[in-house]
Structures are given as structure tokens and as C-alpha cells.
């Protein structure tokens, strides 16, 4: 297939034929969107090609990036710091000119049942923009702060502000965040949340060039 395959892959937005080494499970939301589109009677009812109705945002590409960051030393524990982790997302797959229209961070925890902090205590969650080496940008307010009385198996946060909707400039091919979780209130107790943390992923909807430049024919 050689050159034909290469040119076809490029028109599909791929630099080379992917060969997944450690394929992650497909997030249920992507299966839902995929199956919904497949079962639509074609072609009259086809959804608007440059919109993701499930999120009600413009876009024709939905990607899920797996976190590649590491746990960070607690440093100066403020309150009862249970967990400090660099969340690092390699965005190099984005093509120049793609414009993010939605970014959702998902944090997944081990416990299938609800697992709260100790009674009378509150779990606090903060998210900072960081350098790829995992250093929070000094003086910057947290991107996100939440107090949780109960920890759920999956927490989803809207992060579109972190990518501020403009086209991803060439070379800006990663997003680094520092996640801190601490417990405050009541008598001390083991921080259940730190060992409960399982994984994080970033769902990104983007508007590709072909959508932004109208319907270019190849």
C-alpha cells in the first residue's frame, strides 16, 4: 500500500500508521457518541459534521489523553496534604490550527463504593497549572478548588479555561497540572484519598482545520 497508504493516513490526520503499544480502554462516552452516530438513519439525519452534540460544542475530533505524570513529594504539607501529583498530558497529536472547544479532566479512584474522608472531615482538591517539571506557577491562583464530603469513583472537571479556546500554537504540545488533595476539619486520620487515586485522563474536543475552513474538498 506504501505511498497510497501514507497519503491516505495523512488525509486522516495521521503522520504514520499508528501501532498502539499500550492501548488504553475506550472511555464509555466515546462509545456512546460512536454508536449513536452509527445508528442514525443516513444521510438526512446525519448530525452536523462540525459539532459534538453530546457536549453541545463545535468540534469534529474527540480525543482522550492518558495522564503521564508522577506523584510529587508532599513538600510543605499545608493542612493534611494527602496527595500531590503532576498530571501531564502529551498534546503533540494535535494538528496545527486545531482549536480546542472543550476540555474535561477526569480523576478516577479505586473504590467502587463511595469512600469518604473520615467523619466530620472534608476532602479539599486543588488544581494548579504547572511547568512540565511539575512546579506550580508561582503566584497563580489554582485553576480549580473543590471541597468534597464524599469521594466518588470518578470526578469530572471542566478545564476549557486552561486551554482558552484559541488554536493550539505549534510547539505547545503538553498540558501540565499539579493536583493536590488534602483533608481538613476533625481529628487526624489516615488520608484515604491518596491510595484511592487510580488514574486521570483529559478529554479534549477540537475543531479541525477542515471544519474551520468550511468544507474543503480534497
Amino acid at each position: 500500500l506504501g505511498p497510497q497508504e501514507t497519503s491516505l493516513l495523512r488525509s486522516l490526520g495521521l503522520s504514520a500508521k499508528p501501532s498502539p503499544r499500550s492501548p488504553a480502554p475506550v472511555p464509555p462516552v466515546l462509545w456512546r457518541i460512536f454508536h449513536k452516530r452509527r445508528t442514525l438513519p443516513r444521510p438526512e439525519a446525519a448530525p452536523e459534521p462540525c459539532r459534538v452534540e453530546e457536549f453541545n460544542v463545535p468540534g469534529n475530533i474527540v480525543r482522550v489523553f492518558a495522564d503521564q505524570g508522577r506523584f510529587l513529594p508532599a513538600g510543605q504539607p499545608q493542612g493534611r496534604l494527602c496527595l500531590r501529583k503532576l498530571l501531564f498530558f502529551n498534546l503533540s497529536a494535535l494538528e496545527e490550527g486545531e482549536r480546542p472547544t472543550l476540555a474535561q479532566l477526569e480523576l478516577r479512584f479505586q473504590h467502587s463504593s463511595y469512600h469518604g474522608p473520615s467523619p466530620g472531615r472534608v476532602l479539599e482538591l486543588r488544581l494548579y497549572r504547572a511547568s512540565p517539571r511539575g512546579l506550580p506557577q508561582p503566584g497563580r491562583a489554582p485553576l480549580l478548588e473543590r471541597s468534597l464530603v464524599q469521594l466518588r469513583k470518578s470526578l469530572v472537571f471542566e478545564l476549557s479555561a486552561a486551554l482558552s479556546g484559541r488554536a493550539v500554537p505549534p510547539g505547545r504540545d503538553s498540558l501540565a497540572l499539579v493536583l493536590e488533595m488534602s483533608e481538613s476539619g476533625g481529628p487526624g486520620g489516615p488520608c484515604g484519598s491518596s491510595d484511592a487515586f487510580a488514574a486521570a485522563s483529559l478529554l479534549l474536543v477540537t475543531l479541525g482545520r477542515q471544519c474551520r475552513a468550511g468544507r474543503g474538498r480534497r
Binding site: 500500500l1 497508504e5 486522516l12 490526520g13 495521521l14 503522520s15 504514520a16 500508521k17 499508528p18 501501532s19 498502539p20 503499544r21 499500550s22 492501548p23 488504553a24 475506550v26 472511555p27 466515546l30 462509545w31 457518541i33 460512536f34 452516530r37 452509527r38 443516513r42 444521510p43 446525519a46 459534521p49 462540525c50 469534529n60 475530533i61 474527540v62 480525543r63 482522550v64 489523553f65 492518558a66 502529551n90 503533540s92 497529536a93 479541525g208 477542515q210 468544507r215 474538498r217 480534497r218
Partner: protein
């Protein structure tokens, strides 16, 4: 894989069945879904006089007329897609991210001259 034509297929321009199986082209290890899809293609002739159902342009009508006067010098018009549909593909990209992407013009719905 285009099926062997049952009976004598119409010689006129129209969509012909073509199922593309991604495993046939060696893409099954990175395309999660679908495993293949009905892409179809346009096949058949655009003879003079162009019948009404052949979805033809004015230019094609004139070209068939000239072709009937001068078959060696002017070819018949081509049979090409005039309406296509998109499909969505779920796949792993070069960084093992899971991607759901919407691709335009992937299925031939209608052909014309």
C-alpha cells in the same frame, strides 16, 4: 470487496456496492471501530442521450452529444459521486490516545455524470 455481479449489471452510471474491511488493508490493530464500512463506488456509463435519472450536469449532456458525433475525439462524461456521507472512526493515534473523529465524504450515496 466488490461482489460478483448477480445477473447482468446495469451498464448505466450508479453506486456499486463496495465494503471496505480495515483488516483487509492491515489497519485492524489501530482502528477500534468500525471494523469496516460500506463505502460503495460509482460505476457505469453516461451514454447519449443521458437519461433523466442519471443526475447529469448540463456540461455532461453537451459532452455526450459531442461524443456521439465524434467518439474518437471526445470521451463520454465520467460517472462520479454527487452525494457522499460522513462516518465516525474510533481509533488509537500515534501517541496511543483514543480518538473519535468525524470524516466527511466517506460513503458514496449517489452518482452522476
Amino acid at each position: 470487496s466488490a461482489p460478483s455481479p448477480a445477473g447482468t449489471p446495469s451498464p448505466l452510471c450508479k453506486p456499486r456496492r463496495l465494503y471496505i474491511s480495515f483488516s483487509d488493508v492491515g489497519w485492524e490493530n489501530w482502528i477500534i471501530a468500525p471494523q469496516g464500512y460500506l463505502a460503495n463506488y460509482c460505476g457505469g456509463e453516461c451514454p447519449f442521450p443521458l437519461a433523466a435519472e442519471l443526475n447529469s450536469t448540463n456540461h455532461a449532456v453537451l459532452q455526450t452529444m459531442v461524443h456521439s458525433l465524434d467518439p474518437q475525439g471526445t470521451p463520454q462524461p465520467c460517472c462520479v459521486p454527487v452525494r457522499l456521507s460522513p462516518i465516525s472512526i474510533l481509533y488509537y493515534d500515534n501517541s496511543d490516545n483514543v480518538v473519535l473523529r468525524h470524516y466527511e465524504d466517506m460513503v458514496v450515496d449517489e452518482c452522476g455524470c
